[in-house]
Every structure is written in structure tokens, then in C-alpha cells.
């Protein structure tokens, strides 16, 4: 064989091996977490291993639309994951456990299903015992109907209720606020010589007095980011996905494995006083924390901290009550 032929064969062989091998090498050395709409698989991989105290560098890319990444109950800025681009973040966990990461962008009808877990292992102190949430302590049946039998004819005003409450030394302890619905407190005030509207105003004031402007503001932000897609910007159950959820009905659920028997429900309308004024904060906590068990309402207990859930609940009541600014 002539030298030129031999050399050509060597060059061609090296070039072909390089053209095949180099992309595969770099590809295998760069593990990416792929984000896809839940209908197309969600996060891949959706289980990530990490160790306590060891920085965990994650690289993400979206295979379809804009997604976002955040870890539940962790104080962090969410990361936008753009189609075809790579975003990265480094996380360090100081406690072992199973953390939930989730999509922070309204990417599609089943957006809330885009979740995965980070399993953090490593040396640590003995596990902290978790106290049961209030709704469990109170033994509430959060799926039982809780409609308020009486509702106000006009929106209750905390401003109007404030003077009445002060003049009559009416206050509401934190425990009562958390465990009783506005209607129950309204009912408790029946022996005072107020009109019904005045009693509702007092209830509105008592609810406001159990929250802070910061808490309401935080709740508003959490609501806008996580709840408004279904429940609507103004709480009316008319979010951008509400119609789609109605239209898709069971079909959208059945596209997800293991969810054949789920039944979709229209997102709750928080502006409906019968529903909202009949629910105690503890009951709402249960619904948010546990989720709707197949109704389409996600489980948020692994995402929000307890404080965030109370902030959210405080904000939800603001759809019923007129608070002073």
C-alpha cells in the first residue's frame, strides 16, 4: 500500500472516530437534567442524589417550553430553564432528607406535576421529630363540606369593624383564629347587639389583626406564583388553566400514569363567601398542605414552609375582607 493511501486511511479513520467519539464523550460527561412538560415526562432524571454539606451542581435544559427550577422549603432564587439553553445552580444541603424540586413556571396544564426529589444523605444529628400539622391535631375532616350557612350581603370591612371591636373589647386569640372559620366567629358574636353586617365587619377586623402587611404581601406573591394559574389572579377560580382543566377533564388526568381514577374539579372560587368564610385557616392549611387528592389541587406541603402556608391563607381571606392599607 502506498504511503499516501495509508496516510489517508489513517486520517479518515481518526477523523471519523473523532467525529463520533468526541460528541459522545462530551455528552456523557455533561449530565443534564432535562425539563419537559409533565405530559411528556417532566424532569429527567427526577431523582437526584446528594450529600450533606457537599455542593451539588446541577445543570438544566428545557426540551420544550420555559420551565423553572426551585427546591421546596428552601430559601433560594428559582432558576429559569429555557428551551435549548443550559442553566446551572449549585446547592448545598445542611440536613439529610428528601427534598422536592419543582417547576416554577406555568408550563402547561399539568405544570404542577413537574416535580422530582433530591435524596440527601450523610452524617447528621438524630432526625428532628416533626410535629403534626394543625389540621391533623384538630382532627379535621378537610374533605367534608364546610359551607358557611350565612354570608354577608356586602363585603365585610376591617376598617369598619376595628372601632366596633375596640369599643367592645373583642379580640381573637391566635389559636381561635387558626382553628375557627370566619363564620364560626361571626356566629359567636350573635349575642352582641350588632347588625349582621357589623358582626362581619368585626370578623374582618379580627382576621386582619391576626396577620401583618408583610405576611399578606408574602402571601400575595406566593399566590401569584403558584396558585393564580388555576384559581385566578383575583381568586375567582378563573385562572388561565381553569378552562383548559374543565375542557380536558378526566382526559388530561388519564394521560398521566397511575392517575386513571382521578376526577378533575373546577378550581375553587375564593371570592365565593359561602366556601371561603366557612373554612378555618387550619382547614385551608390541610387542603394546601395535603392537596386535593386527585381533584387537580397539588400537594404543597413539600414545597411551602409552614410560615408560607399561613401567609398564603391570610392572603386568601383578603378576597373576602376589605382590609385597611
Amino acid at each position: 500500500m502506498k504511503r499516501s493511501e495509508l496516510l489517508s486511511r489513517i486520517i479518515v479513520t481518526v477523523a471519523v472516530i473523532g467525529a463520533v467519539g468526541a460528541p459522545l464523550y462530551f455528552w456523557s460527561r455533561t449530565p443534564l437534567i432535562h425539563a419537559r412538560m409533565a405530559e411528556n415526562g417532566g424532569w429527567n432524571p427526577d431523582v437526584i442524589q446528594a450529600e450533606v454539606g457537599q455542593p451539588l451542581r446541577l445543570k438544566f435544559t428545557s426540551d420544550d417550553v420555559v420551565h423553572g427550577f426551585a427546591v421546596g422549603q428552601m430559601d433560594m432564587q428559582s432558576v429559569d430553564v429555557l428551551p435549548g439553553k443550559v442553566a446551572d445552580i449549585t446547592l448545598t444541603f445542611d440536613k439529610p432528607g428528601i427534598y422536592i424540586f419543582y417547576c416554577t413556571r406555568w408550563c402547561g396544564l399539568n405544570h404542577w406535576r413537574m416535580r422530582g426529589t433530591i435524596e440527601v444523605t450523610g452524617a447528621s444529628d438524630s432526625p428532628e421529630p416533626a410535629s403534626p400539622p394543625l389540621y391533623v391535631s384538630l382532627n379535621l375532616d378537610i374533605d367534608a363540606p364546610h359551607d358557611a350557612p350565612v354570608i354577608p350581603s356586602v363585603q365585610p370591612s376591617a376598617i369598619s369593624g376595628q372601632q366596633l371591636a375596640i369599643n367592645n373589647s373583642i379580640s381573637l386569640s391566635r389559636d381561635d383564629y387558626l382553628s375557627k372559620s370566619p363564620f364560626e366567629i361571626f356566629d359567636n358574636l350573635k349575642n352582641i347587639s350588632f347588625t349582621a353586617a357589623q358582626r362581619w365587619d368585626v370578623v374582618a377586623y379580627l382576621w386582619q389583626s391576626n396577620t401583618t402587611p408583610e405576611s399578606l404581601e408574602n402571601g400575595k406573591q406566593l399566590y401569584a406564583q403558584n396558585c393564580a394559574a388555576c384559581h385566578g389572579e383575583n381568586g375567582a377560580g378563573d385562572g388561565v388553566f381553569a378552562d383548559d382543566l374543565n375542557e380536558a377533564g378526566e382526559e388530561s388526568m388519564q394521560s398521566m400514569s397511575g392517575a386513571m381514577d382521578m376526577v378533575m374539579q373546577t378550581p375553587v372560587d375564593f371570592t365565593n363567601p359561602t366556601r371561603t368564610l366557612g373554612a378555618s385557616p387550619a382547614l385551608l392549611q390541610g387542603k394546601i398542605l395535603r392537596g386535593g387528592m386527585g381533584t387537580g389541587m397539588p400537594m404543597w406541603g413539600v414545597i411551602f414552609t409552614e410560615e408560607q402556608i399561613w401567609d398564603l391563607i391570610a392572603y386568601i381571606y383578603s378576597f373576602q375582607f376589605e382590609y385597611s392599607k
Binding site: M1, K2, S4, E5, S8, R9, I11, V12, A15, V16, G18, A19, V20, P23, L24, F26, W27, T30, L32, K59, T61, S62, D63, D64, P83, G84, K85, V86, D88
Partner: protein
Amino acid sequence: MNRIELTRNPFIKNTLKSRYPQLAVFIVMLVGYIFAILAGLIGTPVGSHNFSIVFVWIAWWAVLILVAVPFFGRGWCAVCPIPLPGEWLQRGAILAPPDKRPKWLNLRVPKMFRNIWMQNISFLLLALFSSVLLTTPNITGIVLAAMLFAAIGLSTIFERRAFCRYLCPVGGFIGLYSQTAPIELRIKDKQVCVTCEGKPCYNGSQAGYGCPWDVFPGGLTKNTYCGLCMECIRTCPHDNIAINMRPFSADFAKPSTRMDEAFKAFIMLGSSMIYAGVLLGPWGVFKDAAYNVGTSAWFMYAIIFLAIIFGILPGFFTLGLLKTKSALPLKGRFASLATALIPLGLMFWVAFSLSFVLTNASYILAALSNPLGLGWNLFGTANTAWQPMLTSILAPAQTLALVGGLIWSARTAQKAASETRTSSIPIIVYCFILTSIMLWLLL
């Protein structure tokens, strides 16, 4: 007609005669092609950021249809990497002289397939799936790989470049439009070929291989089937092969009489118009139908697509021909006058391609820096924002291309009509109507 022999220039001649410059380009192309396959298969599924989609369907297509075909004819075929592995396998060598005994089956392609009907079909197959193919990286990767393996497979069964000559979906229309190009490979003196012993340009010799395109250069009258592989320049013992510059569309002096070529003209013309409507038009229902392969809407789209190409366009063309009188039978007139649709089709494709190439060219920079979607920024352009380019000149350029194409095809129709001693008016009217529709679709 005046021709300038480029191979008189010693640099050009030596560059073409030597195998090394072409081999160097081949290797780069082959590496790029394999990389595109892998990028399609393992890169991001987001088409606008995937190297295979961006470099094949935007960058390569732009170079091919806006530069290579109009100015260099089969210039792309001269450097195309697809047939190389098969050809090297077939020969058992990359550079070494051919063996006397073939290494593989070396069969002759059956006569019924020695036309471009298979290329017409392969192009239409890709065209019908194009909405998915053009946007889905792994489909593009699979199709690119399939073409490479098909070329290898055919090289082991049939002699020469059977894939390029009879199956390549791209080669068919490049050949058709290469007739318009101002460049050609031709012999210098016919008498030299007549008396040449052994015809090494076709049969091969110690100096090189017989024409991979199954063409005897001595009989070349048009560019259609000459792949510009330059092998005959190396094998001709009489230095009788030349690369010439010539006027545009010089090959139309003698119009084609082949129905496969005539229908290729209709396929290309119709496809460009359908793409302009479906891919660039405002009708979402057409886009959905084209994209949702396998659905009843897609089948309807496919039926309409084929009906336009094989029914409506040739039907009205034939109706126009019926208005003319000629001693030539209708079939002969059809094939001959369809030549007028070649420059029209080419300019339709130029106008259509300008739209999406200028709109999407900015993706090239991002894909160049991050070809596998792994977050690289090789040249600092990975985050280049999408930005349509030269939007102000798009409409004038498209209008110029379409009107220019109409004038060019009218001129071609006149020549073809005078060859067949018939009237060119119905064909010119036909071209005018199609150009008007295309203007409406694009502007």
C-alpha cells in the same frame, strides 16, 4: 456561446487534478455530517438550538439554494460527504488506483430505475414529512444517518454512485437546476474522445476511477448528471476535460425530452409554492395538518400536496399546451416546454428560502457556540438572541427573484417553443399566473 475555460489556469487545474485538496474538504464535510447526525440524536430536542437543524436546514440549505446551485450547479455534489464511505468501501481504497476485480457485487442498476423517478419519490417522501423533519432534531439525525447507510448499502450492491445518481432526494433537483448554472464540465475536443482507447474517463485506469456518476464525459451536453467529482480530469490521458464558465442556463439550448425530468420541475415548483403557503403563510390549520403526521388532517394535506404537484400544476400546463399547435406529440411538447419551469422553480426556491433563512440565520451563531446543547460557549455567541436579519431588503429581494425568474422562464419558454416549433404564449401566461400566486404567498 462564449465560454471561459477555467482549467487553463494552472492553479485551478492543478488543484482539481490533485486528489488532496478535495480529500481535505471531504474529510471536513464527513466530520461535519457525522457531527450533525450525532447532534440530532443526542443534542437538545429544541430544533432552533440544535446543530443538526440549524446547520443542515438553515446554513447548508442557504448555501445550497442561494449560492451553490445557482452559481456552481452540482458544486455541492463535488464535496458532498454522503457517498464517500460507500465509495471508499466499494473501491477498497481512498486514493489508490482501482482494482481490476470489483470487491463487491458491482451490479448494474436495473434499467427501469435508471432515471430520476426514485429521486422524485424520495424527495416527495421527505417533502411530505418536512414539517417534522425540519423541526425535530432526532428525525433529522435519523434521516441523515439513513442516507449515509443507504449510500453505503447501494455502493456494495451496485456499481458507481447508485445512491447519488438514482436515489438521493437532493441530487435530483440539484441536477435539474444545475442546468442553469454558469459552470460546466465538458470535453474540449470531441474527436479526441472518439479516438481515445479504453475510455479511461468512464472505465477507469491507473490514474483514477471510471466516472462515479456513470456518465461518459465525451457525451455530456448538459450538467444534470455530471456530479463534478473531477475524476475524469484526473483520468483523461489527453487532457481533454475542461471546467468552463458559461452563460447562465446554457443547457436549455437543447430542451429535455424526459418525463422524469419534466415532473421533477413540477415537483420542485409545486413544493416551493406549498411550502410558502404552509410554512410561511398565516394559516395555522395548514401548519397543524403538515406537522401532525399520521392524522387524518395530515393525510388530507398529503393528498392535496400530491394533487397539486401531479394533477393541478401539470394539468393546467397541459391545458395550455393543448392551445398550441406543433408537429411534436403532446408528450414531447410537455417534456420539452417544462424546461421553462426550471428557472422559475429555482427562483421560487430562492425567494422562499430567503424568507426563512434571513429570519432564522441568527440561530447559526448560537448553535455554533453550543452545538450539542451542553451549555458551551465556544465562540462567545451561545446567547445570541434571535433576530431576523435584513428584513428591509427581504420583500424587494424576493420580488426581484420572482420577477427575474418569470423573465428568465419566459425567455427559456421562447427558446424551447422555437425548438419545438410551437407557441410559447400559454407557457408564459402559466408562469405569470404561478409567479403572481407566489408573490401573493410570500409578500
